[in-house]
């Protein structure tokens, strides 16, 4: 069976600059990340088990028809957000995402859901700007965590890792 649970599979990378495929349009936009571009990124292993949430907004144009009573709908404006959650670390060098992200920082996020991305891996790419890291409310019996939300410009959920 090739089905996978999330544990040990989800990997997230931050790229500071646009990959070459960002210049393409339509379905080809952000469709490819080269191995070298990925290697130039920063891995974010502090992501928590529930730390990757791609929250969609799907609005609809709808019209209620009185003759049939049917509500007819068509896809309208839509958007996506990449909301991440990380574990804090008291050692600065290991507190990567906390130190890295700030309000308005541009980035390209590569999300792999089937282990460490390698040549031919299918990945998701999200291009956007981050908000300020936000600590979660204090709570007993809980490790310290924080969230980093993003406002996205573009994304491609069917991207591939290609040779450099």
């Amino acid at each position: 069976m090739s089905r996978k649970a999330h544990e040990g599979q989800l990997k997230v990378y931050y790229l500071a600059a646009a990959p070459a495929s960002a210049a393409a349009e339509g379905d080809d936009e952000l469709a490819e990340i080269t191995e070298a571009e990925l290697a130039a990124g920063i891995k974010l292993p502090q992501i928590t088990a529930d730390g990757v949430d791609t929250a969609p907004t799907n609005n609809r144009a709808s019209i209620d028809m009185i003759d049939t009573g049917k509500i007819s709908e068509f896809p309208g404006t839509y958007g996506l957000a990449l909301n991440m959650k990380f574990a804090r670390d008291s050692i600065e060098a290991d507190d990567v995402a906390w130190e890295l992200f700030s309000h308005g920082l541009e980035g390209w996020f590569v999300v792999s859901r089937f282990g460490e991305p390698e040549l031919g891996s299918r990945v998701e790419v999200y291009h956007g700007h981050t908000f300020e890291p936000q600590p979660l409310a204090s709570a007993p019996n809980t490790f310290q965590q924080y969230t980093v939300d993003t406002a996205l410009v573009a994304w491609n959920k069917k991207a591939t890792i290609v040779a450099s």
């Binding site: 790229l15 500071a16 600059a17 646009a18 990959p19 080269t34 070298a36 571009e37 290697a39 130039a40 990124g41 920063i42 990567v96 130190e99 890295l100 700030s102 920082l105 450099s164």
Partner: protein, 79 residues
């Protein structure tokens, strides 16, 4: 304060806060502008002397005469 960084292998460039540049250094990013020499090596081909057969296949650049070229505007070594 933002600093300019580039990656010599991928050719990527970015303008990022200093603390981000520090983290990127571990992934091979360098601070500053990418030197032009690294952008292209097209003009670094070794020059050949006139009158010397290069051993190329027929019709592909074999020089058969030692006579100097009269049109020096298009390149070639002067004798």
């Amino acid at each position: 304060m933002n600093v300019k960084v580039y990656h010599p292998e991928t050719g990527q460039k970015a303008d990022v806060p200093e603390r981000v540049a520090k983290r990127l250094a571990a992934s091979g990013w360098l601070q500053g502008e990418q030197p032009e020499m690294q952008l292209s090596t097209t003009f670094d081909q070794p020059k050949q002397k006139q009158g010397v057969s290069t051993g190329h296949p027929a019709g592909q650049g074999i020089i058969t005469s030692n006579k100097p070229k009269t049109d020096t505007k298009k390149g070639g070594d002067k004798q």
